[in-house]
């Protein structure tokens, strides 16, 4: 790269050479940056069609490197540049879906997908996509995060109808695997800003699960998760009795969830302060 950069030559030849550098190390951000500059320079006086063709070719090159290097910042950023220059994100959701089929929690893939959705307004169908992923694995927290992202961008997170529907969605998934933290975190994230009394059945569900009914060998039936959320629900209500209960729950959690004993002790100490 040193001699290429020193020469200041932006040509088909140096574009090809940069590919060789990338083949040796796909994380060479200098080489990727050089490629983008090269394509800009080479097609500065080209027709729009020619420029489109060049970026499409580059996108194809990028796609191949992407499949070989799933966890590489440079490939994903380069893709973003190509697609921005093309002004066309229509095939990108399918590409990301392909990557997620290999690695359903790939952080770069999800971040890129969020960029595509927002940039091109391709929201329709995304909740269905998330639903498919959750059917494959209810514990895919990236999918849960995506659900929040979509709703935040397209819906009113304070609407009672939406909150009730989402609470039901989360509860349905808690039913499937009560110890799975994802839907519990989702519930908390949705309701904490608006108040848990927006959806009273959530408290009822927590009370039920916190009462030790659902434990089975190897699983506590979601008891610790429910007690944890109940602490927050009771805290929000603020009555003396409920604060006392909240404190008692923290004490119990300190014993049932010992890796977090210090945290529960501190939480209990902060109640009513």
């Amino acid at each position: 790269m040193a001699s290429i950069l020193a020469s200041g030559e932006y040509s088909e030849r140096t574009l090809k050479l940069s590919g060789e550098v990338i083949a040796r190390n796909a994380a060479n951000y200098t080489a990727w940056q050089f490629r983008r500059k090269c394509i800009e320079v080479l097609h500065a006086d080209a027709t729009p069609e020619e420029r489109q063709r060049a970026w499409r070719d580059e996108l194809e090159y990028c796609g191949k490197r992407g499949l070989e290097n799933l966890k590489n910042y440079q490939v994903w950023f380069h893709r973003r540049s190509c697609v921005s220059n093309l002004g066309d994100g229509s095939r990108e959701l399918a590409f990301v879906e392909e990557i997620l089929a290999e690695d359903s929690k790939n952080y770069h893939a999800w971040g890129y997908r969020q960029w595509v959705l927002a940039r091109f307004g391709l929201w329709e169908g995304e909740l269905d996509f998330i639903g498919r992923l959750l059917r494959e694995d209810v514990r895919n927290n990236s999918a849960w995060n995506q659900r929040y992202f979509v709703l935040k961008a397209t819906a009113d997170l304070a609407s009672p109808e939406l909150l009730a529907a989402e609470a039901e969605f989360a509860e349905g998934h808690i039913e499937l695997s009560p110890t799975n933290p994802s839907p519990w975190n989702y519930l908390r994230g949705l309701l904490e800003p608006v108040g848990y009394d927006a959806v009273p059945r959530v408290r009822a569900m927590c009370e039920e699960r916190a009462a030790a009914g659902g434990a089975q060998p190897g699983s506590d039936g979601g008891r610790v998760m429910a007690m944890g959320l109940l602490v927050d629900v009771l805290l929000a209500s603020g009555s003396r009795e409920e604060l006392d209960r909240s404190r008692a729950l923290c004490k119990a959690l300190g014993e049932m969830d010992p890796i977090r004993a210090a945290y529960w002790r501190w939480r209990g100490s902060r109640i009513g302060v």
Binding site: G111, D257, I259, W266
Partner: protein, 388 residues
């Protein structure tokens, strides 16, 4: 480790739970090998294999094999991972010849035109905030006059400013991606070299705060999933900007606490992902930061940890130490310098915790005292702040 299951299969196995079970089995085998007659881990029989790690680290300062080609654009990182790890493990400074070698190499990575440090010698590579952070941290760790002399303050400052975007974020390099790492690298380097000024800081805290998710942790950019690496970066940057109190702190602490694995004591990076020793620092190191913010707000007594330091130490010493030196992500993975650095950094953080009942003093004595904001030895940070 004792404790009820806080997550399990619940009769519905999925990819996540299956992988989790596999890792728990692998860790449990190691814990069992070291168990006493009561079935619990016999900590006294577990040793920090200091000299093995030091040998592995010194070997890394020589030449690295073909397997490291993928880090060819991260060579200052390799310097930092190694010199910082050595600083944690051994009280003596780096030998003058090794120090000169590292300082000399880092000097060749400077971009003399635009400022900043590159992933490898200039002009083959261009300046980037991550190797800049790693380079400055390496030089501060070495802490000699020659090391400090490598840093051309004004040029470095102008590189940082050039990376700054109108929305408050920082791109990692010219025509590069912007995420919370950029803000952290810029704030850390600016602070250490005494040039964190208004122009550099403007709007950055506001942008960082947008990255806190509904889960309470922080993602790479607004909307992305809460993740340990990015949570540390954002939190440390906000601490440097003196605006960490603007975070939703109860949610952040709850999320951080939930990331410690009940079974193995180590940390996962995200909800429902696997334990990884590097999060010993990214997640574990976030705790002293959050402790100090809460303490300043009068919400946390001085002698309190909000995580389980003995549990974290158990994971690092039993599961992360590799047989012939170096540390690894988890049992079954190969050692590498990145995981060695961040496991040892987590060890240093945990060694400074308040509640260390049952932890052998051998595990924590003569472990370097690390400043968790920069992840550099405290004494070297102080020295640098005085110098610049």
């Amino acid at each position: 480790l004792a404790g009820l299951y806080t997550d399990s299969e619940d009769g519905l196995p999925t990819g996540t739970s299956e992988e989790q079970a596999q890792v728990e089995d692998a860790c449990q085998r190691l814990f069992d090998e070291l168990a006493g007659p009561d079935g619990k881990l016999l900590r006294e029989s577990v040793h920090l294999r200091r000299s093995d790690h030091v040998a592995y680290l010194h070997a890394g300062l020589g030449s690295l094999g073909e397997g490291y080609a993928s880090l060819d654009a991260s060579r200052p990182w390799l310097c930092y991972w190694i010199v910082h790890s050595l600083a944690i493990l051994s009280p003596e400074p780096l030998s003058p010849s090794l120090a000169d070698g590292v300082v000399g190499f880092i000097g060749r990575c400077i971009d003399p035109v635009g400022g900043g440090f590159c992933g490898g010698p200039y002009p083959g590579q261009s300046a980037h905030l991550a190797p800049t952070y790693a380079a400055v941290n390496s030089l501060v760790t070495i802490g000699t006059a020659e090391a400090y002399a490598v840093i051309e303050r004004a040029q470095l400052g102008s590189f940082l400013l050039r990376m700054k975007q109108t929305d408050g974020s920082f791109t990692m390099h010219d025509d590069g991606e912007a995420d919370v790492r950029g803000a952290y690298c810029a704030m850390a380097v600016a602070t250490l070299t005494g040039q964190l000024e208004a122009r550099l800081a403007r709007g950055t805290a506001d942008w960082l705060l947008r990255c806190q998710t509904y889960e309470g942790g922080i993602g790479a950019t607004p909307g992305e999933e809460a993740h340990g690496g990015y949570t540390f970066c954002a939190l440390a940057a906000l601490v440097l900007l003196n605006q960490a109190c603007r975070l939703r702190l109860p949610a952040l602490v709850a999320w951080l606490s939930q990331r410690q694995m009940a079974h193995s004591g180590g940390f996962q990076g995200r909800t429902n992902k696997l334990v990884d020793s590097c999060y010993s620092f990214w997640q574990g190191g976030a705790f002293p930061l959050v402790h100090s913010v809460l303490h300043d707000l009068g919400q946390l007594p001085a002698d309190t940890d909000l995580y389980h330091a003995p549990g974290l130490l158990d994971y690092i010493l039993v599961c992360a130490q590799a047989p012939h030196g170096g540390l690894r992500d988890k049992p079954g993975k190969a050692r590498d310098y990145y995981h060695t650095c961040y496991s040892l950094s987590g060890l240093a953080v945990a060694a400074a915790a308040h509640q260390l009942a049952g932890v052998p003093s051998e595990w924590v004595e003569s472990v370097g005292v690390v400043n968790p904001v920069f992840n550099v030895l405290n004494a070297r940070v102080d020295q640098a702040l005085r110098h610049f």
